[in-house]
């Protein structure tokens, strides 16, 4: 049976979770020590290289530029307000009689008044007048009979 650290014991040594006995062995045993150093060296080099690489990369400057969205929002809001204002005005205008139609109505009224005034007989006599032609037509006949 080997006295060297097992794979799991080595891994625990790397993580600093090994028992005191294993830690001591890792320091004393040249073979185990070499294995541990090989791993830690490689990881440390990897860390250094990655850190240097990332430091070389340019960091984009963060600038809070005004996005086009507020302008769009303002436009949408403006259109919405315009529509909201326009609808009641439009409805009010629709309700009001137009000047042309008002003039026409005046003319019609005046014509009616004129027609009313230009009647040959008063309105109360109109019913009688309806019968009048019949009366007139009968009268001569009677006269002729006489």
């Amino acid at each position: 049976m080997s006295n060297h650290l097992s794979h799991d014991q080595m891994s625990r040594c790397v993580l600093g979770q090994a028992s005191r006995q294993d830690e001591a062995h890792g320091r004393i045993c040249s073979q185990c020590k070499a294995e541990l150093i090989q791993f830690t060296d490689a990881v440390a080099t990897f860390q250094d290289v990655m850190k240097e690489w990332s430091e070389r990369e340019a960091v984009p400057r963060f600038e809070e530029t005004p996005s086009p969205m507020p302008l769009r929002r303002w436009l949408v809001a403006g259109v919405a307000v315009a529509v909201l204002v326009a609808i009641p005005i439009y409805e009010q205008r629709e309700r009001q009689p137009r000047p042309e139609s008002k003039a026409n109505a005046d003319e019609l009224l005046m014509e009616e008044v004129a027609a009313h005034l230009s009647r040959p007989l008063p309105m109360s006599m109109e019913r009688v007048m309806v019968l009048l032609p019949q009366v007139e037509s009968n009268v001569p006949e009677r006269e002729e009979v006489r």
């Binding site: 690489w53 990332s54 990369e57 963060f62």
Partner: protein
């Protein structure tokens, strides 16, 4: 010429889950200066996403999405965790969403098999080191890169947050939404799998 120190070296652990830059204010105050947040945390998020998705363009897009989401929801950030942990949580969710998108699976498989070689040169960069050292570095990076490729999504996430971002178990739990025990289990399995994989490639 002064040597440029990586930003993470200026960071220190806090009582909350994560790191904040030295002398910085509380997380809720820190998030107000979003430009500074971008400068500070963009590299961290980018490299995490990069190793997760293994495609530079996708990584940049997901990182942008992460910061866009963070910017939009910055008012709802209560400061329960550090800004770093909060951003990492958003990034982890972004990566998870990306992998759930089945429509991209074929394309992802194609990318993973073809891009890795050129990616390695880009990652190692033009370091002023000897060719021998460069070869050694490339080998080590490739070994970890290939080993993490075969991990499950959760194992990879936990592994990267621990070994690339130096986050502790509580921070990882907060960033992934897993319990502490679950993080430990995933991390142990990830380390075991990576070690096995590296042993094979040796």
């Amino acid at each position: 010429m002064t040597e440029k120190r990586p930003l993470y070296e200026c960071m220190e652990p806090t009582t909350t889950f994560g790191f904040v830059a030295s002398g910085m204010e509380s997380p809720t105050t820190e998030i107000q200066d979003f430009d500074r947040v971008m400068q500070l945390y963009w590299p961290r998020v980018l490299r995490f996403v990069m190793v997760s998705v293994r495609d530079r363009d996708v990584a940049e897009t997901l990182t942008q999405d992460c910061f866009l989401n963070a910017y939009r929801s910055r008012h709802s950030f209560r400061g329960d965790s550090s800004v770093n942990t909060w951003l990492m949580r958003i990034a982890v969710n972004g990566v998870r969403k990306f992998f759930r998108n089945r429509r991209l699976q074929f394309w992802r498989q194609l990318q993973q098999s073809s891009v890795d070689a050129s990616m390695m040169n880009e990652l190692v960069g033009d370091r002023s080191i000897s060719p021998e050292t460069r070869t050694l570095v490339s080998e080590q990076v490739r070994a970890v890169w290939d080993a993490t490729k075969n991990l499950s999504e959760r194992q990879r996430t936990v592994f990267l947050l621990r070994f690339m971002e130096d986050m502790n178990i509580l921070e990882i739990a907060a960033a992934t939404g897993l319990t502490k025990g679950s993080v430990n289990v995933h991390l142990f399995r990830a380390v075991r799998a990576v070690r096995k994989s590296m042993g094979r490639t040796k």
